[in-house]
Subunit: 352 residues, 2 copies
Amino acid sequence: MAYNIAVLPGDGIGPEVMAQALRVLKVVEEKFGFSCNLTEGLIGGAGYDAAGHPLPEETKEICLKSDAVFLGSIGGPKWENLPPELTPELGGLLALRKLLNLYANIRPAVIYEELKEMSPLSERILTDKVDFVTVRELAYGVYFGQPKMLEEDEAFDTMRYRKENVEQIARAAFDIAMKRDKRVTSVDKANVLSSSKLWRRVVEEVAKEYPEVTLNHQYVDNAAMQLMLNPLQYDVILTTNLFGDILSDESAAICGSLGMLPSASYGESISLYEPSGGSAPDIAGKNIANPIAQILSLAMMLESSFNEDAAAKAIRDAVDKAVTGGQRTGDIACGGKSITCSQMGDILCQYI
Amino acid sequence: MAYNIAVLPGDGIGPEVMAQALRVLKVVEEKFGFSCNLTEGLIGGAGYDAAGHPLPEETKEICLKSDAVFLGSIGGPKWENLPPELTPELGGLLALRKLLNLYANIRPAVIYEELKEMSPLSERILTDKVDFVTVRELAYGVYFGQPKMLEEDEAFDTMRYRKENVEQIARAAFDIAMKRDKRVTSVDKANVLSSSKLWRRVVEEVAKEYPEVTLNHQYVDNAAMQLMLNPLQYDVILTTNLFGDILSDESAAICGSLGMLPSASYGESISLYEPSGGSAPDIAGKNIANPIAQILSLAMMLESSFNEDAAAKAIRDAVDKAVTGGQRTGDIACGGKSITCSQMGDILCQYI
Ligand SMILES: CC(C)[C@H](C(=O)O)[C@@H](O)C(=O)O
Ligand SMILES: CC(C)[C@H](C(=O)O)[C@@H](O)C(=O)O
């Protein structure tokens, strides 16, 4: 039995960190006795340059035929001034989210004890280990809500939720909380927005299906503040598409190194896995990028899409060992000695 | 000649910090030779308790007849479960914003060198003085955009901007930048939202009227990150109603003490001044709240509504002197010796 994986390296550092993740995949395939069929596709600027579109037809087909999509990263200054529908972000990533109906974006925020000084937060705030997950609604809300209008003198977007959209994302969050500390913080703006009032009501209904999980609510402005003043309070943050965009980036900033943070985007049948950070065009092609975010995204894929929990755990343990042992790419070296992207790959393969 | 000021102490610590600000006002009136007619009105929970509404008719009249509105703070657990239109927030503050057509919310973010350790950010980030201003659009966007709908199975809000709305707030921001370091960062989500595309285009047009001011754009998710990683980069942040709600609270969190941060909300004829922080019901009535935010809001009023620049400067200088001299209410004492709310009032009156 083999898993079919669509591999989309994308732009910037995407190809080089992807290469290391695929080496790690080879190692765990052998060690844990499963196998993967990899089919590579073009996306983002790479898709535009080679095939005239950031999400070429061929890539769509590869993705739709796969069991999971493994993405590097997209975008860069080269493609910034294209018409919106041809940009890597809108024409590539957002279109792919729509194509696969990805409804939940899962972004863990973790600060390793050894990397505390990478965080912009002071020691006074980081008295314990920051470790929470943001569950962002990804398929609806003001991103995709219709109607939208853009005219010379006026423009609008519609922030729309149906009950079933909220139920679906809320269940995803509560399911995750059941495997963690059983606490969900739902973030909305229910004191002002109608869509947030619906959101809050439906989240409360779904909570009844999970009597073991504690639910509390925060307004988004307060959450933006609390994330800085007391990030330790969170276990699972459940929020809307737009608020999740903002808060998950703030959460990533708290952690200090984007190069360490993976993400998963759940679809109904096919899910997508990618690093939280961007394509970092300034360091692309130099073999100095941190491959850990890509490699931890692989672990999320093995666990969530293929139930290969042991392989996922082996990868995470290897990363822990490397970080604890002082193995550092430039982004997390804090001025100390650093190793290259492929050396980090070597070490992780060896540790597994 | 006398200025007519509507004084709305409101809830929680509102009345006690307002009392200190009014003492300071008396002192500067005498010293700088102007006079004020104060008319007190009920708002928020206080309005609801005494008159059945968080913005009683009488208060509306007082405000509409005034030259400026001086507000304490509103809200508290006691009134949280009222129907939305009767809550202090929606029925009081938001209704007042609408009544006075307050279109720009101005919130300075400043970290005093002496209070650096109050900030949740590490020393590594705070290598220089944080000092920027958020200019938040306050009368339109998804807060007030029509239509809105809330039904059993579906709800939506409309994030709507007209060209003239954006022009008005952009000019407010550029005018402020002209008196500062002449740099504006406009924050939007123009890679996804139609309303943000209009926003960006209009901001660029307005920028042409201010050739001396440098304009750059950030997406809101990036701004939420940059505020933590490099808050020193900002001079004036110009943003929408919803993004401003989130980012100005994040900015306040960066500063570490809400008790120090004033705000102004500009209307076309009548403007409103209030502390950035909340009503802090937990410490209300104990004479331990920090009155500085209220007193600096007074300085903003004297300057912006009445052109009493010398009086405003005297107040700010007194606050600087107090903070530099180690005079601290409990919230900024960092574990050291603290004085009461009214003692801080005494000291500031004396310094002026
Ligand atoms: C690139 C952009 C459209 C995207 C978003 O806003 O969702 C990105 O910021 C993200 O968070 O994945
Ligand atoms: C109380 C609430 C309606 C208000 C807002 O969202 O504007 C508050 O958060 C603020 O920032 O003044």
